[in-house]
Amino acid sequence: MSTLDDPVRFTFDGRDLVAGPGQTVGAALVTNGVTAWRGTRKEGRPWGLFCGIGVCFDCLVTVDGMSNQRACLVELRDGMEVRGTLATDTEESPEEAR
């Protein structure tokens, strides 16, 4: 478990990134300049944080192989592997997911 002193290392789509301690995955991405990570199913629009509190599901992300996690709610941990769907366009619909 991280404390609020040490920076946290993680990867996003294979890139090595560092974030402040005690942040959510969504906050860690945004503070690294990544404002969008999910590609929408129909138009492939870039999606990032919107409601910020787990209501809208806009910010879905894959964390350590677990797909469709809300980036605004997942606490970042050291060594996490985070993947978006913006590049790959493989987002699932809620009916087919999980």
Partner: protein, 478 residues
């Protein structure tokens, strides 16, 4: 742990839920508290992870002392074994048992492979699920960098950093003030707060406002922050478009007439904007009260809320509700309602609030009604839209598809708009677009009906749930 049987189950640990849990436990009940978050506080008292900062100082918070007092009593309850705290869980199905009591089926907020989430059986149930920012579609609101005003607030409170450098905050209601103030205090630049209402709309309600002096004090505090950071507060002003290709870059705004229509030739444009925060009041989280059959009404702010009696009991015996689901009214009111609900749920014969506190509760309710009337959703908001503006973000349904379904197919409520245009069919299940879709179905200038709001908020599964948990239902013996 797969099953837990208690006297009282409480859902939520915001101001209402925390007060309810403490009151029920102190009245002698064994209590289970289900919370989507990892630590008590809800949205209002959201703060940095206690794992790293066990004693946060409450900067940027209101009534922090109330929180610390409730948290201390809550912890006393967990220490004595009277309170079972179940953090990191969301209720995906609430049901009333045939004989008596309620069953809550839960799923993990964040899937981490830790096995099955517990089922809670309770004789009486207190739901305090709170609410979230109400949204109206605005051209360009789908761009990354556009956030709910409360989302910015949560970002700052939970992470201690800002999601950008230059901000515009827009919508209506007093909540825009603390959002802008917290951004500024955290070092961000707030280009303006755009408030669609005119502050003179408060004048008819001065009596209700004057009876709650704490609110005037809060207002004065924000005025100080705004002056110190030179934040322009523009009333009767709206965002007409958010612009950018891949993310927010610029914001256009205009002055609005009394109905909320943009006045041509007014306003301006800001460049190099990182984040736009929108909030048009709040939408209470109604799926659990609706799933249990609680009677509802439309409140002064146009939100669907549940009907409760003096003891916070809904039309369903044994089901108590407190906080925003009974009418959006803020944290002080939520604490009082939660305390009443928790006390009543633990002891049906108890006096739920001392007379003095009941008077305070009623004052805060009157203040909330005055606030709703002074900060309405602009009547002419549909005028802002272009045919391409998205209504349903999840399913990417534009305004043109919604109005076509309404005009050509007679889809005038959220349920038929769902069938004909897929509005509200996506991941959020209509949480974000339900209000706007109901208004669009009713037509320009028309209010959303109770039945349309209710069908937009009805969700067979309260949150998306792994198929394994659904499958486990067949095998369950409870």
């Amino acid at each position: 742990m797969s099953g837990l049987t208690v006297d009282v189950a409480v859902v939520g640990t915001g101001p209402a839920g925390l007060a309810a849990a403490v009151a029920a436990a102190e009245a002698g009940a064994v209590v289970a508290v289900v919370d989507a978050g990892n630590q008590p506080g809800g949205q209002f008292w959201r703060h940095r992870p206690e794992t790293g900062d066990a004693d946060p100082d409450g900067r940027g918070h209101h009534d922090w002392k109330t929180f610390l007092d409730l948290r201390r009593r809550f912890r006393a309850g967990t220490a004595s074994g009277r309170v079972h705290h179940l953090p990191g869980l969301q209720v995906w199905m609430a049901s009333k048992n045939h004989d008596a009591g309620f069953t809550l089926r839960t799923t993990r907020t964040v899937v981490d492979g830790e096995g099955a989430a517990p089922t809670v059986h309770a004789t009486r149930l207190v739901l305090c699920p709170g609410g979230y920012d109400r949204q109206l579609p605005v051209p360009g609101w789908e761009l990354p960098g556009v956030m709910a005003a409360g989302g910015i607030q949560a970002f700052v409170k939970a992470n201690g950093v800002l999601p950008g450098k230059r901000f515009v905050v827009a919508g209506t209601g007093p909540f825009l003030l603390p959002v802008a103030a917290n951004i500024a205090e955290a070092g961000g630049e707030v280009l303006a707060v755009l408030e669609s209402s005119s502050l003179s709309t408060w004048l008819p309600h001065w009596k209700a406002a004057a009876s709650v002096p704490g609110k005037a004090l809060e207002g004065a505090e924000y005025a100080g922050v705004f002056a110190r950071h030179r934040i322009p507060y523009k009333t009767r002003s709206i965002v007409t478009a958010v612009e950018g290709e891949d993310r927010v870059r610029a914001v256009s705004w205009a002055k609005a007439d009394a109905d909320g229509r943009a006045v041509p030739g007014t306003g301006g444009r800001w460049e190099d904007v990182d984040v736009v925060g929108f909030g048009w009041g709040f939408t209470p989280q109604m799926e659990l009260p609706l799933a249990l059959g609680a009677a509802t009404r439309v409140d002064a702010d146009g939100s669907l809320v549940a009907v409760v009696d003096e003891r916070q009991e809904s039309s369903v015996p044994g089901l108590f509700l407190a906080g925003e689901v009974t009418g959006v009214g803020g944290a002080v009111l939520a604490v009082l309602e939660g305390r009443a609900a928790g006390t009543a749920a633990a002891d049906p014969a108890a006096v739920v609030l001392p007379a003095k506190e009941a008077v305070r509760r009623d004052r805060h309710r009157r203040f909330a009604q005055a606030m709703h009337r002074a900060h309405p959703v602009p009547q002419a908001w549909q005028d802002w839209l272009t045919p391409e503006t998205l209504v349903c973000r999840c399913e990417e349904v534009p305004v043109s598809a919604v109005t076509e379904a309404r005009d050509a197919l007679g889809a005038e409520d959220s349920r038929s708009l769902k069938s004909f245009a897929r509005v509200g069919m996506g991941w959020c299940q209509g949480r974000v677009c339900g209000f706007a879709a109901s208004c669009l179905g009713a037509g320009p200038g028309e209010p959303a009906t109770r039945s349309s709001l209710a069908s937009a908020a009805k969700r067979p599964l309260a949150v998306p749930v792994p198929i394994s948990e659904l499958a486990a239902l067949d095998a369950s013996t409870d």
